[in-house]
Symmetry: C2
Subunit: 465 residues, 2 copies
């Protein structure tokens, strides 16, 4: 094809024909494949794309984007499909770009504590590759997500209180922009004042401004000593108070996770443990042998002052691994409590001084509405999840769950917090952005229009144009 | 005035008349005031604005922006005038908005480790206000800059290696956008995935996308123990090697600053000290009593392995203050070496593994060209400054200095670094952005056009439209 091409709007079959020529059998239009790529583990409305492209290079993504731009066909990037707010739902159809075959670790610069990976590399893959270098990548959202997807959704997780989120740990990105230009957002320098922060613009943009194909990341030395432990408290409030005190006194906790009593009960059954069925903090401290122990001792004192404890610690790797596996299994553990119900996993984040209050509010709200909703949280950041169980055929229960969720978000925003600490906006949180951002939402829309004037990049997510 | 107004392009006298009505004698057209507001301490070409508005509130800034938007009159924000790349030069004339009277500390939320200040509050003012709370704000670019200006230029300085830059420490901003809308970029939550990162878009935008009027900042607990010290080495290379080893082994240094022998000589004279005239690292460690001492001891070992030392430390606050005052005075100390010459202070930042190499390259280049150019650096980040002395009337020397500076930047970019680690772009570094960002520069231009279509916000800085 050459010369000027008359384009017809969103001619998806023409786009599929041209991409098929490019990828051969790496373009699938099988309904099963398409459905699997358009639906996430939540009850956000899934919608299959018209085709799924299994790409192998930035240049292939560039060619696909150019074809889609020509036909104004939507493009939805896909990593591991573990996002939780309907991010991958192809609401206007189009081409899903599956990056999982782009799974090469391109470079590890041990002396600079950084690396560069293709977007489909998962965090566990990276850490297992790094094992012999003495380095690790800390961000851990639970799921073994792709690093491109984690950047796109500004993921964080249990370690964020110490190491930050993807916002803080992405050094630079390679992005295919909606016009097909390939942009490298920044150099490998640790800091720069050389113009607008394109890296941070793309991190958290959920595929609506471009497709991330490579990710430069900060790495960290594996700490000399790691102390992990669990500490039960009488009340959720006491857990929150202990968290606040630890943060306020500058204790450099690496993880501090709240698991409520409902969750502990489920975990005990699922993971064959015998933890006290009480609101519990799971903690981890990183440092020198002396330093990590000193931190753990300081926390012990805080806990005792609040009537909590005993703070039981483990330093052996297998014991720590078992403990964190139990924490990560918390979500799955609860599934078995009401196996026939669906689960709405939502998250908010507030200033830590308001944490105890908002947790109490949502607990009471759920109790008043007869909803089973365990709470689990990265409380060092003021961020927590509520996993509400619901029989989707029970319209009253569904309405109640949605209403509780809405009040939770409204309370978070009223407390100068955010409607989502780490899950992202996708489809699920769009309706709250005006309340949270006000005129800022218009700025976001202006950015989207400027970068993606044809609205082909994951349309309908974050912002409707 | 009401109804539809016919606008004439850049009718600055009309804009001045309307702003004058608003501010009375807080709008100055005095040549002395205008000249002082259009020229920075460098030899970037200064240009006075047509008037200077001393504003007192976000709402006043909003009104001024609306007037300027109507007449397409340029607006240049001004904090303390200590930026170093011609940021405040009114290249197209217009109104300078001086925010120094907006110096109120609006709230300190000690329990959340955050605060909110008006943009004109300086960092020293904030820290002296915080003294009794046990908290501090770490970012320290040397000058007692305004926090709005520091956010606008993505400032950092000696503490960045431990605490990050303004990118990492601004929680949220209040910004008057080019259309006069007031945007609050984010909540007080420590993390959020709720849409595009407007905070990071504005941080480092140098007044080209809007005027920052309020700044929300992270605070930190004053460490229990601080150990500071100086450690001489035989060569700059050994200093760089020691820095690399400390960073690579994960030593949480709070400051690690390279001062070359030329600087030490000047400091000894200026600050009446008797430091060894050798390349020297100035260091600081924060932690518990035990932890800070453990860190200092680890560094001592590194230094000894590289033939450096002795590492002499101080823990008493007055001794530490004297030491850091000497480090901060380094710039002024060198002025006295060639009092009749001007100084070009430039900065670049590279991956730390390339630090020793690029420092050696620029030192040799200056030697070959007979330029006196002390080097000083935040080497833990791979960031350093070269202060080149020049007789501006000596055209050959000026050409040589500019050529050395150009080669330094080109080397930094070739090493996958950046043309500026912390000074910003302004006028001085614009010419290097294409080489550093490639197609990314077009994305920056698209952002600028989308947010500021009339190009009234600090026009000519970062990007020419």
């Amino acid at each position: 094809m050459s010369g000027v091409v008359e384009t017809s709007k969103n001619n998806v079959s023409q786009a599929i024909a041209e991409i098929s020529e490019l990828l051969g059998d790496r373009l699938s239009v099988s309904l099963a494949v398409c459905e699997q790529h358009g639906d996430d583990p939540t009850w956000n409305p899934g919608m299959p794309p018209d085709a799924v492209a299994f790409v192998e290079s930035t240049e292939e993504v560039q060619k696909i984007v150019r074809i889609c731009a020509k036909y104004e066909t939507p493009i939805i990037p896909f990593g591991t499909g573990t996002s939780l707010e309907g991010h991958i739902s192809a609401v206007n159809g189009g081409i899903c770009v599956d990056l999982s075959k782009m799974d090469e670790i391109l470079e590890v610069n041990a002396e600079d504590l950084d690396c560069r990976v293709q977007a489909g590399v998962t965090r566990k893959q990276l850490n297992s590759y790094l094992r012999d270098t003495g380095l690790f990548f800390p961000i851990d959202p639970g799921a073994d997500a792709s690093l491109g997807g984690m950047a796109a959704t500004r993921a964080s997780g249990t370690n964020a209180v110490r190491y930050g989120t993807m916002r803080d740990n992405v050094l630079n990105l390679t992005v295919v922009m909606p016009d097909g230009e390939i942009v490298r957002t920044a150099s490998r320098a640790r800091k720069s004042s050389a113009g607008y922060d394109l890296t941070r613009l793309i991190v958290g943009s959920e595929g609506t401004l471009g497709i991330i194909t490579e990710v430069g990341l900060k790495l960290y030395g594996i700490p000399e000593s790691v102390v992990a432990g669990v500490c039960p408290f009488e009340t959720v409030d006491a857990c929150c108070q202990a968290t606040m005190m630890a943060i306020q006194m500058g204790l450099p906790v690496a993880r501090i996770e709240l698991v409520d009593a409902e969750h502990i009960k489920a975990i005990n059954e699922y993971s064959k443990l015998s933890l006290d069925v009480k609101p519990t903090l799971f903690l981890e401290f990183h440092g020198t042998k002396l330093g990590a122990r000193e931190q753990a001792d300081s926390f012990s004192e805080i806990a005792a002052d609040l009537g909590g404890g005993p703070f039981e610690t483990a330093t052996r790797e297998e014991d720590r691994a078992k403990l964190w596996q139990a924490r990560h299994d918390a979500f799955w553990a609860t599934v078995h409590v009401y196996p026939d119900k669906q689960r709405l996993s939502t998250d908010v984040c507030v200033p830590i001084s308001r944490l105890a209050e908002i947790v109490a509010l949502v607990q009471k709200d759920m109790q008043d509405n007869n909803i089973y909703g365990p709470i689990i949280g990265h409380v060092g950041d003021g961020n927590f999840h509520v996993i509400m169980f619901c029989d989707l055929d029970d319209r009253q229960e569904l309405a109640n769950v949605n209403a509780v969720c809405k009040r939770l978000v409204e309370n978070a925003i009223a407390m100068n917090g955010t409607c989502t600490g780490e899950h992202g906006v996708g489809l699920g949180k769009k309706k709250y952005l005006k309340a949270e951002h006000g005129a800022g939402l218009d700025v976001m829309a202006a950015l989207k229009r400027a970068i993606d004037p044809k609205n082909i990049m994951n349309p309908g997510k974050i912002i409707s144009l």
